[in-house]
């Protein structure tokens, strides 16, 4: 098996180099994607075997590097490695066609060099078994993804958004480095094995500090509210396959790292850690989906929906921590199972959705929902795959999104059996929050699918849309197919995942609830399919005829409900959340009933920007201004600084 893993790594590292060499050769243009797909399939096979059988693979490169650098694949790593490889295959297949159609010259070559490198950096993050290797991969992942976004261009607002992305990522990375550094006095090599051993003996205050830093750092990467600010800015402006990788896979590396810290290193913590994670997850879930509902740009909507789904994953992780703290290991295992199952499910349907959004923009040159419509008739394969992905993301039974949400529901419900009264009230109430999120997500994706793929086209561009090339269809259809398979037969992933969790949290048994969902879903599928088949057998004649237009000449696309109109009732009910700045300009000013021109604008700056980020940025800038006084430009003063620094260092060393 280790040969499989090594050859996977070699192929993956070779891919960007081959791309670099192929820049000048027109004939070899197909080589990088083929090589990358072979690498990813090797990786998926290796990770799959290691995930199902539990083989432990390790690779120590410490001799070649100044600091300990080793990779280890245990079951948890294997699961996330499998996730990365399985999701990346359709993305690469899609890119093979998409990149050729949209980019040329330097940009195309740049994408093919950076894309494999970006995937390799994510692989490094989930397989690293020393702090150095992890941080190296973590930083590389940020920089390479920023580079990929920049391949789309960096003019004006885009540059600002990339700056915010990099800034927030580095604030998060600082917290992650801090979390690792706190281990340094006890585990000098920062190998994961040593960190695992020493974490148990650390004082509680230190453990709490590590937990908070890890939550802050990984929460920023995962896009937990209010640290999500970069997510709706960075994801939509990336090339679509890159958005898919960032949303579907990169966010999961943060989930992996948080699970690694929270469960593997720190073990059982006090209950308030769990409550903190649970609350942050619930807030992210509700606000994420509410913001998504108000968006009319497909990719921004999907980006906010990632915030929502990460929220659901963190709710489940938080519940697992709470349940573990109160001594209910089997229920904690159920909640952790929900988190990991939702992680892979979200990776599947979100990659399908982002790739599908790319296909929509390829076919119509717009992502604005108000200019789309009727695409299902024009792009049948993409349309059906997107329908499946939409059904999955809102958690309809028989699609994979339901599995994770159901497990989370049952874990919350199980909280009622705990003897202390706080979790017995809080956890079942969280089930209500999850139900609210589910309802809002259904409204959000009914809007997305109904406005983009159904009814009449709202513009010329949508009217003349054509189906995208076969490779792009395949890229969307593969993850969608996986959604249906997992949705009907969830045991495929739940069984090995349960073994993973019992390795992660020793002493847990398979929760009995899992068996009931794996038996009922195939039967339910059978029932529904049987009824649908029976009705389809009855012949129903149909006649195509124009919709009744109240005697008027006919309906046109402007008479349909728009995306804005569809979400209006819910936006009105949740107006406190949005707090939009509206402006209506009527000219000339004195004649409201006979205007010559009306313009309407509605801008939502989320309240976090106003109340949290703006003051923070202002404070940092003010501090920088004050510090500027140190820079006098006078050489004697700088010599004085040097002298003072030397003296203070000597004093420090003397008294340490």
């Amino acid at each position: 098996m280790i040969y499989g893993f090594n050859s996977f790594l070699l192929l993956l590292l070779a891919a960007p180099i081959i791309s670099l060499l192929c820049v000048k050769m027109k004939k070899a243009r197909a080589l990088p994607p083929v090589l990358l797909v072979i690498a990813l399939l090797t990786g998926a096979a290796t990770a799959g075997v290691s995930f199902w059988r539990g083989d432990r693979l390790s690779l120590d490169l410490s001799r070649l590097t100044p600091l300990p650098f080793a990779l280890t694949v245990d079951r948890l790593s294997a699961f996330f490695l499998l996730l990365i490889c399985v999701v990346s295959v359709p993305v690469v297949l899609y890119s093979a066609s998409y990149i050729e159609r949209h980019y040329e010259g330097l940009r195309r070559d740049g994408l093919w060099i950076l894309l494999p490198a970006f995937i390799a950096s994510m692989v490094l993050v989930v397989t690293a078994s020393t702090g150095f290797a992890f941080l190296f991969g973590w930083e590389l992942m940020t920089l390479l993804s920023a580079g990929l976004i920049m391949m789309e261009g960096d003019a004006g607002q885009r540059r600002h958004n990339i700056f915010i992305y990099l800034l927030m990522m580095h604030v998060g990375a600082a917290a992650v480095v801090g979390a690792f550094l706190l281990f340094l006095p006890h585990a000098p090599g920062l190998t994961f094995a040593a960190m695992r051993t020493v974490a148990a003996q650390m004082p509680q205050g230190m453990r709490t500090a590590i937990f908070l830093l890890a939550f802050l750092g990984f929460g920023t990467k995962a896009g937990i509210v209010p640290l999500h600010l970069w997510l709706p800015r960075a994801h939509p402006i990336a090339p679509s396959p890159v958005s898919a990788l960032m949303s579907a896979v990169m966010l999961k590396t943060a989930v992996y790292a948080f699970v690694r810290f929270g469960f593997d290193f720190l073990g059982t913590g006090p209950a308030w850690w769990g409550y903190l994670v649970l609350t942050a997850g619930a807030v992210s879930g509700v606000l994420g989906v509410l913001y998504a509902l108000a968006e009319n740009d497909i990719k921004r909507l999907l980006a906010y929906s990632s915030v929502e789904n990460i929220g659901i994953i963190f709710m489940a992780i938080g519940a697992a921590m709470v349940l573990r703290a109160y001594g209910a290991p089997t229920l904690a295992a159920l909640a952790a199972l929900a988190a990991l199952a939702h992680a892979i499910n979200h990776a599947l349907f979100k990659s399908a959705l982002f790739l599908g959004a790319g296909s929509v923009s390829d076919a119509t040159h717009t992502l604005n929902m108000e200019e789309l419509g009727g695409l299902l008739n024009r792009m049948p394969v993409t349309g059906v795959a997107m329908l499946i992905a939409c059904c999955s993301i809102i958690g309809l039974p028989l699609f994979n999104g339901f599995v994770g949400e159901w497990l989370a529901f049952r874990a919350f419900l199980g909280g009622s059996t705990l003897p202390p009264i706080t979790p017995a009230i809080v956890l079942p109430l969280v089930a209500g929050v999850l139900a609210l999120i589910g309802g809002l997500a259904a409204a959000c994706f009914a809007k997305l699918y109904g406005v983009v793929f159904l009814s009449r086209p709202r513009s010329e561009k949508a009217e003349h849309a054509h189906e995208v090339p076969a490779m792009m269809q395949l890229g969307v259809a593969l993850p969608a197919a996986a959604c249906v398979v997992i949705g009907i037969f969830p045991a495929i992933i739940l069984r090995p995942l349960m073994t993973t969790i019992s390795e992660l949290m020793p002493g847990t048994a398979m929760p009995t609830q899992v068996a009931s969902i794996t038996t009922v879903l195939p039967w339910l599928a059978l029932t529904v399919i049987a009824v649908v088949a029976a009705i389809s057998l009855v012949k129903r004649t149909a006649r195509v005829t124009a919709t009744w237009a109240c005697g008027q000449p006919g309906l046109d696309a402007r008479m349909q409900y728009s995306g804005t109109a569809l979400s209006k009732p819910l936006r009105k009910v949740f107006a406190r959340v949005y707090q939009p700045d509206r402006a209506v300009n009527i000219s000339p000013a004195g004649q409201p009933y006979f205007p010559e021109a009306i313009s309407y604008s509605s801008v939502r700056t989320t309240s976090f920007e106003r109340t949290l980020y703006r003051p923070a940025v202002d404070a940092v800038v003010a501090a920088a201004h004050r510090l500027r006084r140190l820079q006098t430009g006078n050489i004697q003063v700088y010599l004085l600084y040097l002298f003072l620094a030397l003296v203070s260092l000597l004093l420090f060393m003397r008294f340490l």
């Binding site: 209500g432 309802g439 009814s455 029932t527 919709t547 309906l555 349909q560 409900y561 009732p569």
Partner: protein, 312 residues
């Protein structure tokens, strides 16, 4: 024998759903001092619609004709979760209330898509309003059912019914009182009855459910109408099963089953009378009052959940 009875239960819930609708309409007519149509009238409507042809807008996709079929299929599957005559159901021993609630959401999602696919103005309007009502109804429904499941220590509907059957009616807790009120309010919203929505409305601007099905005709409309009748019946059966299951057959004796059928029929009639009285005496709410209506349901269900922990 058990399997046979389970299948009969589903068949009854599906086949007698239009009759329940007919009874409600008839009682309503009597309350309003009209003679009203026969209780079998919904069947005649369905037969008439099934004999006609589907009219499909030229811009519609396959989703337009698939939606009614899926809606009917998942609503019928939802009926298979509910114990009616004895404390078991076809899927009710394996599937829990979460799956039931999500199956209803499944049908609603496709109905919304079908409505938007029609390409008219009203479909989108109905879908938009349905999204408002159903989104806000989801949380109270699941919380109220959670409260009942917590008290019964089991999540499957059959299990809850078995537990309730062993309890004394007069000793049921405040949790049940709160939960039944919440579920009843949600049931009214979910099935589109007054005061949330008016199933007999002819004014497009106030419609919710009816606006969504405005472009449908023929067999597709028949399937939608039947599915919404099943949904009403499922909600009634759910209320009975969770909060007043007494009278269900314990074994498979002819006498026990006969009693179960009669008792169940009486309970259904009682509930339909309540529904008819409410519908005749309450005016339809303004649409932006519906969140307040469901907010009450939400508050009740949250209280129910809190009480489960406080009162044990």
């Amino acid at each position: 024998m058990r399997l046979l009875l389970d299948i009969v239960q589903v068949a009854l819930l599906v086949a007698l759903a239009p009759l329940v609708r007919g009874i409600v309409a008839r009682i309503k007519a009597r309350i309003q001092n009209r003679r009203g149509a026969s209780v079998w009238r919904p069947y005649a409507d369905l037969r008439k619609l099934f004999a006609k042809e589907d009219l499909v807008p030229p811009t519609a996709s396959f989703v337009f004709r698939l939606s009614p079929v899926l809606l009917f299929a998942v609503t019928a599957a939802a009926a298979a979760f509910i114990p009616v005559l004895h404390a078991s159901a076809l899927l009710g021993t394996m599937g829990d209330f979460i799956l039931l609630a999500y199956l209803l959401a499944f049908g609603r999602f496709f109905l919304m898509l079908g409505a938007m696919d029609g390409g008219g103005a009203f479909g989108g309007m109905g879908a938009s309003r349905e999204a408002l009502v159903s989104t806000l109804a989801e949380a109270p429904l699941l919380l109220a059912l959670t409260a009942v499941a917590v008290v019964a220590h089991i999540a499957t509907l059959a299990g809850i019914v078995q537990w309730t059957l062993q309890q004394d009616f007069f000793r049921l807790s405040a949790v049940h009182a709160l939960a039944v009120a919440a579920v009843a309010l949600v049931a009214i919203a979910e099935t589109g009855r007054i005061p949330v929505d008016n199933p007999t409305s002819h004014l497009e601007l106030t419609m919710i459910h009816e606006a969504m099905v405005l472009e449908y005709s023929g067999p597709s409309l028949a399937l939608i109408e039947w599915a919404s009748a099943i949904k009403l019946n499922v909600m009634i059966a759910l209320l009975i099963a969770l909060f007043a299951p007494w009278g269900m057959a314990a074994g498979f004796t002819a006498a026990g089953l006969a009693i179960a059928i009669v008792v169940y029929a009486l309970k259904v009639v009682a509930l339909t009378v309540v529904l008819a009285v409410v519908e005749s005496s309450v005016a339809k709410l303004r649409m932006y009052m519906v969140p307040d209506f469901l907010g009450v349901a939400c508050a009740l269900s949250i209280l129910a959940v809190v009480f489960t922990a406080v009162m044990r």
